[in-house]
Amino acid sequence: MSEESMRILNMLGEGKITAAEAEQLLKALGEAPAEAGAKVPPKFLRVTVNNPTNGEQVNVRVPLAILRSGIKLGSIMPGVMGGNVAAALKEKGIDLDSLKQSGPHIEELIKSMGELNIEVDGPDKAKVRVFCE
């Protein structure tokens, strides 16, 4: 935070300016005040299946750190394995090269997964929910 921003916040704290004036001044400085509900990257991917007809419940919680580590590991695997594994996986529809490219954007991807919320209602009243927390 710059010195100017600190001064504005101090003036606000002392009651010399109003909150609206402080916001305007901060905007003019190019620093919007931090949002109260700043986005926190999710930690887990949750999959829940609830079938009330037969009482079955499935609850899976996968740490997203696995995704992070897996992509980092996957990015060096083709080089190590001489492309054999990559070729075999490509036949199955998994492109390791695309994983290598997604490496630098993984944090952005995980952050945006925080908004993921998929709900599926099955014909037998089963409910499937995929979300991040």
């Binding site: 037969n54 079955e56 750190a65 696995i66 695997m77």
Partner: protein
Amino acid sequence: MIPVLLVGLRLGRFPLWLPLFLLWPLVLVLFLLAFPFLFIYSLFRLGLRAFGFWFLGLPRIYALICALRGLRVSVQSPGKRIAISLV
């Protein structure tokens, strides 16, 4: 980074906690003993890529084991319950 310390299993009504942290020192000792042989073998098998495997791949495999902490799978039906959790 701390690897998985405990594995919790629940088959039916009774929970079972397996202390995996007791296994890691043993694995480390065995690995250090076997490392020279494994490294020489990998040099023959992979050539210079062996360096990539041991010095880039191994820390990432370790990171993946650490990342497994918090994994939880639970399947429940009337009268049956199976749950696995890694702590």
